[in-house]
């Protein structure tokens, strides 16, 4: 009997545009993705949640600022509080920062230009669920496509992030947006919530130029599978 597929929620906000790509990539990696509309107040029974890229609410005010008030985001915050696995990609990362689920903020690129190209990333940690399939120091080629991906934190917060090893991905000698300390991805203190600007869902097949994104999403699928098994085997 084949193993049941772990269910993963992909949130859809008005203006999300990578939701289907994320779902397709997750499906290819053995998950059962389910699209969840932003107005839904509850999440289905899932092992992980993905906040996809796009321009939720037109990026009005600040990227991600409005999406965080979606009913579904309250459910995501509760899910994260209970230790649930959450991955924010690009706009999803911006939403997680605005919602306070991740530290820091993403601002307009230093160049003020939209960047859309492959970048090289350096993996700083693999002891967080969403990078478990990677090696520390491994270089990943994954595309970015954003206008507001410059990660900023004040000196105190930055010191705290470094101290807590919360910077998990850095641009490797090719910083596309002016991010502080080449930061491309961070996790919360517990490690269950991760955000990154590059798009792993666009790099899951060598045909697309790289399949390195599959290591990130595959890690998430593994984590979701584990979470659901743990839930299933927990004593009633």
């Amino acid at each position: 009997m084949s193993e049941p597929k772990p269910r993963i929620a992909v949130l859809v906000f008005p203006g999300s545009n990578d939701d289907r790509d994320a779902a397709l990539a997750l499906e290819g990696l053995g998950a059962d993705p389910v699209l969840v509309w932003h107005a839904d107040r509850e999440l289905p029974d899932v092992g992980a949640v993905v906040l996809p890229g796009g321009f939720s609410y037109g990026d009005y005010l600040r990227a991600g600022a409005i999406a965080r008030f979606s009913p579904a985001m309250r459910a995501v915050a509760d899910f994260a509080d209970r230790g649930g696995l959450v991955l924010g990609i690009c706009n999803g990362f911006q939403v997680l920062c605005e919602a306070g689920l991740l530290p820091g903020v993403l601002r307009a690129n230093e160049s003020l230009s939209f960047v859309c190209r492959d970048v090289r990333l350096r993996v700083e940690r693999n002891d967080v669920p969403s990078l478990a399939q990677c090696e520390v120091g491994q270089r990943l080629t994954i595309p970015v496509k954003h206008g507001e991906g410059c990660f900023l934190a004040d000196p105190d917060l930055l010191a705290e992030l470094e101290e807590g090893r919360q910077v998990v991905l850095r641009y490797d000698d090719d910083n596309p947006n002016g991010s502080l300390d080449d930061i491309a991805g961070v996790v919360n203190a517990e490690g269950n919530v991760m955000g990154l600007m590059p798009h792993p869902e666009h790099a899951v097949d060598p045909l697309l130029g790289s399949a390195d994104g599959a290591l990130v999403l595959g890690s998430l699928v593994d984590g979701a599978r584990e979470a659901l098994h743990l839930t299933a085997s927990a004593p009633a």
Binding site: E98, R107, C150, A153
Partner: protein, 81 residues
Amino acid sequence: MRATILVRPKPGILDPQGKAVETSLRHLGFDVDGARVGRVVDLEVEASDPEQARAEVERMCAELLANPLIESYEIELEEGT
């Protein structure tokens, strides 16, 4: 009551928009320095007195209108006639 909220990038925070505006102004021959670009929010707030209005707008700033990591804000109240 009419409120105007000025949201600015905090000092020291990189403001590429301000830089671009400054560069353009210089190209036009203006002798300028330190240009920063923020945003203005005008709104009507229902309140019985200015203190209550200010408290309401403070909450709006904290919860949505400004990101305290990168932005500071100033509130101006214009009492209706």
